[in-house]
Symmetry: C2
Subunit: 360 residues, 2 copies
């Protein structure tokens, strides 16, 4: 709630700025609607995690000014996500988002949504300049947003050319491609970006001597990147699995990945584990998947689900989840902690705790 209360300040600052530039009132009203419709209204996990991570890194209660600044960076992550979602919905011809029609589906909006997405991205740099220009880490923030944006766009590109909704070609799918799409399209901006922002704000240096064995050097941004990309991959694999496995009344939405030809962990795992079956059954299953995956047809979806059940994808998922959880716990425990300013294990255990055994 405190985080949400910062949004009106941000909106005012953006609207005051375009008003001062002399924009006509219709354009000011339009941009206000764009911001209100597309920026709040999500779960705000990414934005809030900037504040939470900063809190862990600082260790003591935040001043009002610190809270504001961390929250503004959090809202910048939400603006970046809004930029991606508004344009992704246009590219995917999606119908609804967050329980309302996609922005471009509003009759007066249409393809103007593309320029509206751009203006959500530009807002990030306006806010960072106005609030962080004097900080020693100002350039780090700019470069981090640039790089993360580019990586997310690369992930989108692979996804768009691998899994177009209207052309099923399972020969393009494999678990390596899945991992690449997930890491680039989601993990960098959803997991690494918020934490790295909080690390810059906390003044964590690029490297420092390990507080437990001073001959070793800690590279905190590399450590955070490695752990958070794995957490991001885990999160998305889980998201893919829940989409297939959890009934709609529990999931809170209807899973449509099979219908939509998504390059999901579930189908990629199914394609991979066929290796353990008899040659005949292998061929049969591949034919069933080729004919029925990614078709907008409930019966075909049911045939795919029957195969996924036969292959015991749920069991494979449970093994994966236990394995990745144990591995991540181990890596987190190896982070050296001391009394001074440095990376903290709690930044990562908080993420992991929220994700492990999640059901929706």
């Amino acid at each position: 709630q405190r985080f949400e209360d910062v949004f009106p300040c941000i909106r005012s600052e953006l609207i005051d700025h375009i008003t001062a530039q002399g924009m006509p009132k219709e354009a000011i009203q339009w941009y206000t609607n764009n911001l209100n419709y597309n920026v709040p209204g999500g779960k705000l996990n990414r934005g809030i995690s900037v504040v939470d991570s900063f809190q862990v890194l600082k260790g003591t209660t935040l001043t009002e000014d610190e809270y504001q600044k961390a929250a503004i960076l959090g809202w910048c992550v939400e603006l970046l996500q809004a930029f991606f979602l508004v344009s992704d919905d246009v590219m995917d011809s999606s119908i609804t988002r967050r329980g309302q029609p996609c922005w471009y589906k509003n009759p007066e909006v249409g393809l103007i949504a593309i320029n509206d997405a751009f203006m959500l991205e530009s807002a990030i740099y306006h806010l960072i300049k106005s609030r962080f220009r004097q900080e020693s880490y100002y350039v780090d923030l700019l470069e981090l947003f640039h790089e993360t944006t580019y990586q997310t766009e690369m992930g989108q590109l692979i996804d768009l050319i691998t899994a177009p909704e209207d052309h099923v070609d399972l020969s393009k799918f494999n678990l390596t491609k899945h991992r690449l799409i997930v890491v680039y399209k989601t993990a960098f901006y959803s997991f690494y970006l918020p934490v790295a922002l909080s690390m810059y704000m906390a003044g964590i240096p690029d490297s420092y001597p390990s507080p437990v064995s001073p001959n070793e050097t800690v590279k905190p941004f590399d450590v955070a990147l490695s752990i958070l990309l794995q957490i991001g991959e885990y999160f998305q694999i889980q998201d893919d699995f829940l989409d297939y496995h959890v009934p709609p009344e529990l999931l809170g939405k209807v899973g449509t990945d099979i219908l939509d030809n998504k390059c999901s962990w579930v189908i990629n795992t199914a394609l991979a584990v066929r290796g353990t079956l008899s040659a005949t059954r292998k061929t049969e299953i591949r034919a069933i998947l080729d004919e029925n995956y990614g078709r907008k047809d409930g019966e075909k979806e049911a045939r795919v689900k029957a195969v996924l059940k036969e292959l015991d994808i749920a069991e494979i998922y449970n093994e994966y989840e236990e394995g990745v959880y144990a591995k991540l716990k181990g890596e987190i425990e190896k982070i050296p902690e001391g009394p001074g300013l440095g990376l903290r294990r709690d930044v990562f255990t908080k993420f992991l705790g929220k994700i492990y055994k999640r059901q929706k």
Copy 2:
């Protein structure tokens, strides 16, 4: 030609970078095609003007390194333009661009063009980081690109909500709105941006004492902005006028602003000069324009052209051109020049010379 020869270096650098990130070969090929199709192939005026302005400001022959760096900034302006044009064509449902189908019109591309446009924008910041990170003016370059991008998006927004192709409403048009659209959508990025980039590269300070009257302070970026926005407005007014007035065989393309409901200087001037006519004729002319402007119909276009002829738009244009040319010459001549590093009149006279009495 020398400028064009820098493009392959830039493309290699971008392709090497995404290759090093581990992108699959289909994605690398796709991005290569995106760059080749959308970045070169225009007139390159904007890019080349970075090099030309830098040459004027430096005064002596450029070293190879200086040429390269100015050319890279020039190609960054071309990348920014490519980002705008690729997405503008999607938003406008355009058919052709630079004598070939618009990128999104290629059957395998479609709405993936939106993400492709994003990746052209992101390329700018990758290149600037790789080539200018060590320079004292690095942050100035980043902020200038951010601000100019945002301004151009604001111009697009006003244009999109003022003059949608499928809904004619001349009551939304007026010369003030036209000026705002032109300045924001075109002048900032086409005229101010290239010159301001060259000024940062040349090391021109934010302010300096006038070399002719040392009690006065020169604010060179403010001077350049004021002159270049006026030149940009003049350029676009001329573009609008030529679209209406020059026969296709001379213009090199068929003017379609009347058919396309463009918020052009020509229609705005026609709406404004009705003021000098009799009340009856005023009403008649407004009715003719309301019924015939912005309709995809050659006969309706002819009726609009007849009214424009009756109102003698050509004569009004000639008066405007002489007036703005004299005013700009006067402002340029007032720029104080001395032997040291500072703003040079020639930066602006070159632009003005290329535009004045242009016929295509």
